[in-house]
């Protein structure tokens, strides 16, 4: 083993893939379409969400091309409006929300807690199909004319003024919402009921804590967006006056309902990423995460606080001064647990033994970008500042720093980290590092100029813009093309590695955690026998002892 890496692969001459594993436990379409195996369902989700990511990304690329020039010359206004609406709807509801819980969570939660599957495997499959149906509705609305309400569906624009496929788009979100609720339920029950003997709450990996918090948000918040979407559809079809002021409704009510879901949803899009961070930073520092309890409870605190901040999206909409005060204060408080986490991850590296494999590089970029994104969030939560910044590119940059810089980095990080477990093969490490660096540079070049644009006052969702903003927009578009390379590269080498990657063995990173103690790819039932947990989480000394022990035994 080299002194700059912890990668420990079996001898490639003699190594073989395990004879039985979940990928070859059955062949053919039916074995996948009707599978109850949480790992296969995770793969199904992965393929589906990546498909949606490609659609959303394509829309983003077209938008950035349009914004190269100040005049709206590449596409028509209506087309541009559809582009950003579809980009937002797809990326939020069909990529960011499901990707981490449904893919990494499904694959890892049962293994990490020492279970054979989730609590309700059939429900798990059902929630995948529900998601798929929701996705078809969305695809229908995109292909047959598109939708141009923005992902925020602002009333009365969405209910009375646009003529696009609002109903099918809303129904897609409504249906996909049930998939979230069922997944959340499944996770909560699984984590409560199926922990292996000895796996106490405080021996759980921090990954599980943050997914638990995510699941709670899923269950409590998603019904609200579902109701809201139904109300939108009813108002369009039957003209009931819930939101329409002409019928005695209140359009502000829509804002409350929408953000009551969509703000907690923002944390659905970041909490799982935080879980990934805890695992990866610990592993590549060879250390237990600094202040385990604080990190664990900060996840729960985020989930709780996230329900009390929604009106910070409405500071300029004429909510009363007192509610503005309360919501600003709570928004400040919700930033604290995130700050705690960032400091604890950094402190984890103190006196560690750090190596710089690809997942760790992604973790660095997560920490950096998330810190910027989080602190700009504090700027926006400061009432007086929000007036100038909201509805401009500053907000766009802020949430892309959190959601793309943070969450997508975390997803990439997690995919690289668990790729050997999922597929049994390694991705090419050097290319991985190249891709991680490309992503970091491309990301900053794309979104940093947007902070400046925002403070200058450039409004979001503008098809054409004043000429003085062009230089920064060109920079942003240039960055976006680098960013695209940063995504395409992993897509290619991941595919390549499926056949040609080095055989990973059960624990290439020499990590703790139950998932690393079983073969890669895992058996259909994960464990030959349910493990008994008599060690703490992230106990790298325990792991070192165990390895030494095995070596002496064999030797």
């Amino acid at each position: 083993m080299s002194s700059t890496s912890i990668i420990n692969l079996p001898n490639q001459q003699t190594a073989r893939m395990p004879k039985n594993h979940y990928l070859n436990s059955g062949y053919g379409l039916k074995s996948w379409a009707l599978t109850l195996d949480h790992k296969r369902i995770a793969i199904l989700y992965l393929l589906t969400t990546l498909f949606f990511f490609c659609i959303g990304g394509l829309m983003a690329a077209l938008m950035r091309l349009e914004l190269l020039t100040p005049a709206g010359d590449l596409v028509a206004s209506d087309t541009y409006n559809k582009l950003f609406s579809i980009h937002g709807i797809i990326m939020v509801f069909f990529f960011l929300v499901p990707i981490a819980p449904a893919v990494l969570g499904n694959f890892l939660i049962p293994i990490m807690i020492g279970a054979k599957d989730v609590a309700f495997p059939k429900l798990n499959l059902l929630s995948y199909y529900i998601f798929l149906i929701g996705g078809f509705f969305e695809l229908y609305s995109i292909i047959w004319g598109g939708v141009d309400t923005g992902w925020t569906f602002t009333t009365p624009l969405s209910t009375h003024y646009v003529n696009t496929n609002v109903i099918s788009a809303a129904m897609g979100i409504f249906i996909a919402g049930f998939s979230s609720i069922l997944t959340g339920l499944n996770f909560v029950v699984t984590i409560h009921r199926l922990r292996a003997p000895g796996m106490t709450w405080f021996r759980l990996p921090l990954f599980i804590w943050s997914y638990y918090a995510t699941a709670i948000i899923f269950i409590l918040a998603t019904p609200v967006i579902a109701i809201t979407m139904v109300l939108i559809a009813m108002e369009r079809v039957f003209g009931i006056g819930v939101f329409d002021p002409a019928l005695g409704g209140d359009p502000i009510l829509f804002q409350h309902l929408f953000w009551f879901y969509s703000h907690p949803a923002v944390y659905v899009m970041i909490l799982p990423g935080m879980g990934v961070m805890s695992e990866v930073v610990g592993c590549f520092s060879r250390k237990r995460v600094f202040g385990y309890t604080a990190v664990a409870f900060s996840s729960v605190a985020i989930a709780v606080f996230s329900f009390f901040v929604w009106a910070h999206h409405m500071f300029i909409m004429g909510i009363s001064n007192y509610s503005a005060l309360v919501f600003s204060l709570f928004s400040m408080l919700v930033a604290i647990p995130s700050a705690i986490k960032v400091f604890n991850w950094s402190a984890t590296m103190y006196k560690g033994s750090i190596t710089f494999e690809t997942p760790m590089l992604y973790a660095f970029s997560f920490i950096g970008l998330f810190t910027i994104g989080g602190l700009t969030g504090v700027m926006l939560a400061s009432l007086g500042m929000d007036i100038h910044m909201t509805e401009t590119y500053f907000v766009v940059a802020h949430f892309h720093y959190v959601m793309v810089g943070g969450m997508v980095s975390a997803v990439m990080c997690g995919l690289h980290f668990w790729w050997p477990k999922i597929t049994g093969r390694m991705y090419p490490e050097q290319l991985g590092k190249l891709a991680a660096s490309t992503l970091f540079i491309g990301f900053n070049l794309t979104f940093f100029p947007q902070f400046i644009l925002g403070y200058l006052g450039m409004p979001r969702r503008y098809h054409a813009y004043p000429a003085e903003f062009q230089v920064l927009n060109v920079m942003s578009t240039a960055g976006a093309s680098i960013l695209a390379i940063g995504y395409l590269l992993p897509a290619m080498y991941f595919l390549w590695s499926l056949k040609y990657g080095a055989i990973a063995g059960s624990n290439p990173w020499q990590a703790t955690g139950l998932e690393w103690q079983i073969q890669s790819p895992p058996l259909k039932d994960n464990f030959e026998e349910i493990p008994v947990v008599d060690f703490e989480a992230y106990d790298y000394e325990w792991l070192a002892n165990k390895t030494r022990h095995e070596v002496t035994n064999v030797g």
Partner: protein, 371 residues
Amino acid sequence: MHYISPVLWQFLEKWLGNSPLFPPEGSAMSVHVDVFFLFLLLVEIVGVTIVTLMVVTFTILYRKERHPVATQIEGSTLLEATWTLIPLAVFLVCFAWGALLYFRIYDPPTNAMNIYIVGKQWMWKAEHPGGQHEIDALHIPIDRPVQLTMISQDVFHSFSIPAFRIKREVIPGRYSTVWFEATKPGVYHLFCTQYCGTDHSAMVGWVYAMKPEDYRAWTQGSTSGSSLAQNGERLFASLGCHSCHTGQESARGPDLAGLYGSKVRLADGTYVTANDAYLRRSILTPGAQVVAGHSAIMPTYQGQVSEEGVIDLVQFIKSLNSNYRIKQGATAPELEPGQAGTPGTVPAEPAAQAQPGNRAGSAHTTPGTVK
């Protein structure tokens, strides 16, 4: 600007305000917002630097070559308390400062002159009290607080002047207000920042901040012939309001003179202040708040009067607080002496119907009414 350090102020005014990476500072408030922004930026930079320093230092000191075996550390309550409480304190400062600024930006001074803004897909209409109309443009005097009373005729819009650091949602069905005091003559961007449909990005215009004398010249040069209150009076007649609101004791509707700004007792015993929003509601949904001592016989005018028409009516009812023909200059302080719209220069009789831009005539054909 009094309590901002002069050095900082110079820096903002002379240097940042002229930099292409910073928006111009056109209002009294923009300097305050920018100072707060610089503070927040400092917080941001310090925060990011601390985290970066931690990460970089540890990765250099404790990379595997130098530090092959990690030392296990459980945690440290003291340290964790430190990095909980210090950010908390800093964030609370941001909160308090931000809140103070918010109230300053949104609470108009009482002596502000009022301009009405109507947003509709996809244009901004400004209605000056003297009757001047403009589209996608707003002329204002500098060194004088200006309040905008805004309403949308269709979807949500948002009225934003980045150089003044102000923005407010323009909502259908209710008035929202925002105010500013321009400090430098100039031409500034005006944007709609809330996505509002096809031509959202074309819903832009210019704000012309002018020296008071230039502004006065502009108001005289671009009058439409009659003030908002005069338009309102004609509309009041043509919609038949005067058949009930005669001002006499025996009339079927209450006397509207002296109504604006007073406390009205409603049939359910509660009181409301008769402000713009109340007058608007009384015209469009009279049944919702019935005045004590009257029955709900007033018909709704929803769908018959446009938002501009409602504004005219409201201005007219406001002007009834005094005899507006005589004292109009006093109730509409926005009007400068000698300007069109003051008594004597404009015929207030219905004969004005023949003039371009007036709002009288049939309720279904004039620009002040719907369709």
